[in-house]
Symmetry: C2
C-alpha cells in the first residue's frame, strides 16, 4: 500500500496528552478514530491489526477443536430474564422495539449459546463440544476513558465448551489455558495466569490472563520466583509482602495489570438455568459441565500499544503489525531515487512482504522518518541517494541500521517468519 493513497494519515501533533497512551498513539498514527467515549472506528491500518489478532486467536481455538460460529448482538429479553442477567447486570444495554418488545444488547453470550447448544447436544456422545465466535459486545460503562482498552463497544472472542463429566471438563480447561498462553506468546505478550473470583458467572475460582501494565485497571500480587499471581481486587486473602503461597521462595509484589483474557468453570449454572440436558452412558438424564473462555481482541490491541511503544511511537510485534515493512524514499524529488524506491516496493511486495511505501514527494525526510516511527512497522527500509543499489534497513526496536541488498533483506524477513 502506498501511503499517498492510504485513507488514514498521521497527525502532526498528538491529541490531548491526558489521554491514555493507546488512545493517543492509535489516533495520532491513524489506526482509530473515536466516535464517542468507548466507541471507535478502525481505519485500514487499525483493521489490519485487529484482524491479525483475531486470526491468531482463531488458529489457536481451532487447534483445540473449537468450531467457529457467529451469534447475534441483539437478544430478546426473555433470554436474559431466564439467567437473571436482565435485572442483575448493570452494564446491560436495554432497548425497546416500535412494537414494545424488550431487547438486550450482547454483553456476553452464555444465554444465547446455551439455548443454541440445547439443539445439538443430547447424548454423552455429543461431547466434549466446543464452539467459539469473534463478535462485538456492548457494556453500558459509567466512564470509558482507557482508549480501546475499555470500550462501550468492543470485540471479543468467546469460546464455550460442554462436558459429560467434571474430569473431562478439567482436561479441556487445562488445554484451553495452554492455548491462551500460546495466543499471548504469539502476540508478544507475557500474560500471567491470575486467580480471581468468578464474578457474576460462577462461585468457583476463575483465572484471568493479566499483562503487567500501568494502564491496567487490575491490582495484582505476583511472585517473581514462580508463576503465582492473584487479583487482589477480587481475592483479598493475600497482602503485599506475604510469602508466595505457591513456592514460598519470595514475597508477593504488587503491580497494576490489564486483563486480556479469562476462563471460567461455569459448572452447571447455565445448563440448569436453560435446561440443557444429556443422556449419559447409563441412560440417565444429566446436566453438562460448561466452561467459558474469553479474550478481549480490541482490548488486547490497546494493551499491545501500552506495552510496546517509546516516546516516538508504536513498536508493533511482528505477528500483528499492520505492515511488515515501512519503505521510505528520501530523495527530495530525485527521479532516480523515486524509480529505485518503486522497484524495491515491487520486489518486496512480489515476494509476499506486506509493505507500507511512503511515496510522498513533497514531505521532508524528517517528517517521513517520524511517521515511520509513529506508525511502528517492525522494519524500516530507506531508499536514498546514498543507498545506491542497496537499502538501509533498521528494526523499529533497535538503533542501528545496516546497508544490504534487497535479496539479503528478503532472506532475513523469511528467517524471522520461520
Amino acid at each position: 500500500m502506498k501511503y499517498s493513497q492510504l485513507f488514514s494519515k498521521t497527525l502532526k501533533t498528538a491529541p490531548n496528552a491526558t489521554d491514555t497512551v493507546n488512545h493517543r498513539l492509535l489516533v495520532q498514527a491513524g489506526f482509530v478514530r473515536q466516535v464517542m467515549a468507548g466507541v471507535y472506528t478502525y481505519t485500514p491500518l487499525g483493521l489490519r491489526v485487529l484482524n491479525k489478532i483475531s486470526q491468531i486467536v482463531r488458529e489457536e481455538m481451532d487447534k483445540i477443536g473449537g468450531q467457529e460460529v457467529l451469534m447475534p448482538l441483539m437478544h430478546p429479553s426473555s433470554l436474559w430474564k431466564k439467567s437473571g442477567g436482565w435485572d442483575k447486570v448493570d452494564v446491560l444495554f436495554k432497548l425497546k422495539s416500535r412494537t414494545g418488545k424488550d431487547y438486550a444488547l450482547a454483553v456476553s453470550h452464555e444465554e444465547t449459546v446455551t439455548t443454541l447448544a440445547r439443539e445439538f447436544i443430547h447424548s454423552y456422545k455429543d461431547m466434549p463440544m466446543s464452539i467459539y465466535h469473534i463478535q462485538w459486545k456492548f457494556r453500558d460503562e459509567l466512564r470509558s476513558k482507557s482508549g480501546i482498552m475499555r470500550g462501550r463497544e468492543f470485540l471479543m472472542k468467546d469460546l464455550y465448551s460442554w462436558h459429560a463429566t467434571q474430569a473431562d471438563f478439567d482436561v479441556f480447561y487445562a488445554k484451553a489455558k495452554a492455548a491462551y498462553l500460546r495466543v499471548f506468546e504469539r502476540l508478544g505478550l507475557t500474560a500471567k495466569v491470575t486467580e480471581a473470583s468468578g464474578g457474576a458467572f460462577t462461585e468457583k475460582v476463575s483465572y484471568e490472563f493479566e499483562v503487567l501494565s500501568e494502564a491496567g485497571e487490575a491490582n495484582i500480587l505476583y511472585c517473581q520466583m514462580c508463576d503465582y499471581c492473584v487479583n487482589v481486587d477480587d481475592i483479598k486473602t493475600y497482602h503485599e509482602g506475604d510469602d508466595c503461597p505457591k513456592c514460598g521462595k519470595d514475597k508477593l509484589r504488587p503491580a497494576k495489570a490489564a486483563e486480556v483474557g479469562n476462563v471460567f468453570d461455569l459448572g452447571q449454572k447455565y445448563t440448569k438455568a436453560f435446561d440443557l440436558t444429556f443422556i449419559d452412558e447409563k441412560g440417565e438424564k444429566k446436566y453438562p459441565i460448561m466452561g467459558c473462555y474469553g479474550i478481549g481482541i480490541s482490548r488486547t490491541m490497546g494493551v499491545l500499544v501500552e506495552t510496546f511503544h517509546d516516546e516516538r511511537g508504536i513498536i508493533w510485534p511482528r505477528g500483528v503489525a499492520p505492515f511488515e515493512v515501512q519503505l521510505v524514499s528520501i530523495g527530495g524529488g530525485s527521479a532516480e531515487v523515486e524509480e529505485r524506491a518503486e522497484a524495491v516496493y515491487k520486489e518486496l511486495t512480489q515476494a509476499g512482504v506486506e509493505v507500507l511505501f511512503d511515496d510522498r514527494a513533497e514531505v521532508s525526510a524528517g517528517a517521513k522518518l517520524a511517521d515511520a516511527d509513529l506508525i511502528g512497522c517492525p522494519t524500516r527500509v530507506i531508499v536514498s541517494e546514498k543507498t545506491g543499489m542497496q537499502v538501509e534497513v533498521k528494526k523499529r526496536s533497535e538503533k542501528d541500521s545496516t546497508l544490504m541488498e534487497v535479496n539479503e533483506l528478503l532472506k532475513k524477513l523469511q528467517t524471522l517468519k520461520d
Copy 2:
C-alpha cells in the same frame, strides 16, 4: 470436517412449512438458528457460507480501490440528529445509557463515515477516495418473516466514495456497478440493474440490483430483449405491457424480485450536512460528491437458497458452498469401507479440497444421502463396498453419477476452480 464431530446437525423433519424456503432449508440443514424473528445465529456451516460471500465482495471492492475499515454499531444521537435521521428513519433503534445519553444502533453508516472522512479529506488531491466495511446493522422492522432475507440484524457491505467533480464520480459509479455485476456473477446469481427512487438517501434515481425471486418483496418490470429493469413500487411511470423504454423491442413483463444490492449518487447531501469540504485546484472551498454502495451479505445468502434448491434441499453454487465435497461412506459398518473412506478423506483434504465427511456408522445409507442432498455441497462422493478403489461422484445439480479414481476427481475439481 467429520460430520460426527460437526456441532450442527440436520433435522429429520422440516420446521414449520409456512416459513420461507430459505428459513426452512437453512434451519433444517443446520446452517442457522433463529434467536428471534429476524435475528439469527450462524452455525459452523452457515458461517462458512457467510464468510465466503463476504470474501468475494471484499475482493471485488479491493479491485476498484476500496480500502476496508470497520465502523461501530452504536452511534451518539448527535450524528443522527445532524442528518435528520433521528426523527425521520422509523426503523432506527434508539436506546439510552445509564447516564441518560441517547444512542442509535447503526441502520446505515453515512453519518459515521462522513464524519470520519472529514478527518482525512482536505484537498482535491485526497480524492477519489473509497472505503468500505462489512458490518452488522439493525432495523426495527414491524414484521420480519422472510428468514435471513429481511433481518432485524443483518450483515451488509457498505462502500462509500468521495469525488472532487461530478465527472469523476460518474466514472467511479460505473466502475462500482460493474464490480457489483462481477460479485453477483461469482455468486452464481443473475442480478438486474434496476432503476429505483433514492428513498431517504437522495432525490436522484438510484439503482438496485434485483434477483428474480418469488420470495422477493420488490415488484419489477423488465424487458427480455435488453437489460432494462425498473422497480415499480418506487417508480410508477411504467406499467405491465408497456413497450420497453430502452430498446422498444418487447413489452415490459412483471416479476417479483429480491434486492441484493444498491448504489446511490448522494450528491452533496451528506458532505453539506456534515460540512465535509475540500480545496480544489483553484484554491476554492467545495463540497465533494459522495456515493454509497450496499450489498446485503446475509440477505444474499437467503436469496441464494431461494434461487438454488429443489425438493430435497439446497444446491450451493461452488463459490459459496460450505464444503466443496460431501464424502459419504456407505458400508453398514464394514471396516474395509470405513478405512477406504478415511483414506479418501485424507487424500482429498491433503490436496486442499474442503470436505465434509459423513463418517457416521450407525446411520442408514438413505439417511446419509438425504442429508447430503439437504446440505447441498456441489459434489457428492460415495465410498461403498461396490466402489472398490474408485469413488462414485455425483454433482448435486445433476442426476447421473460416475465411478472414477480419486486422482481423476481431483483433476476435475481443479479444472472447475481454474
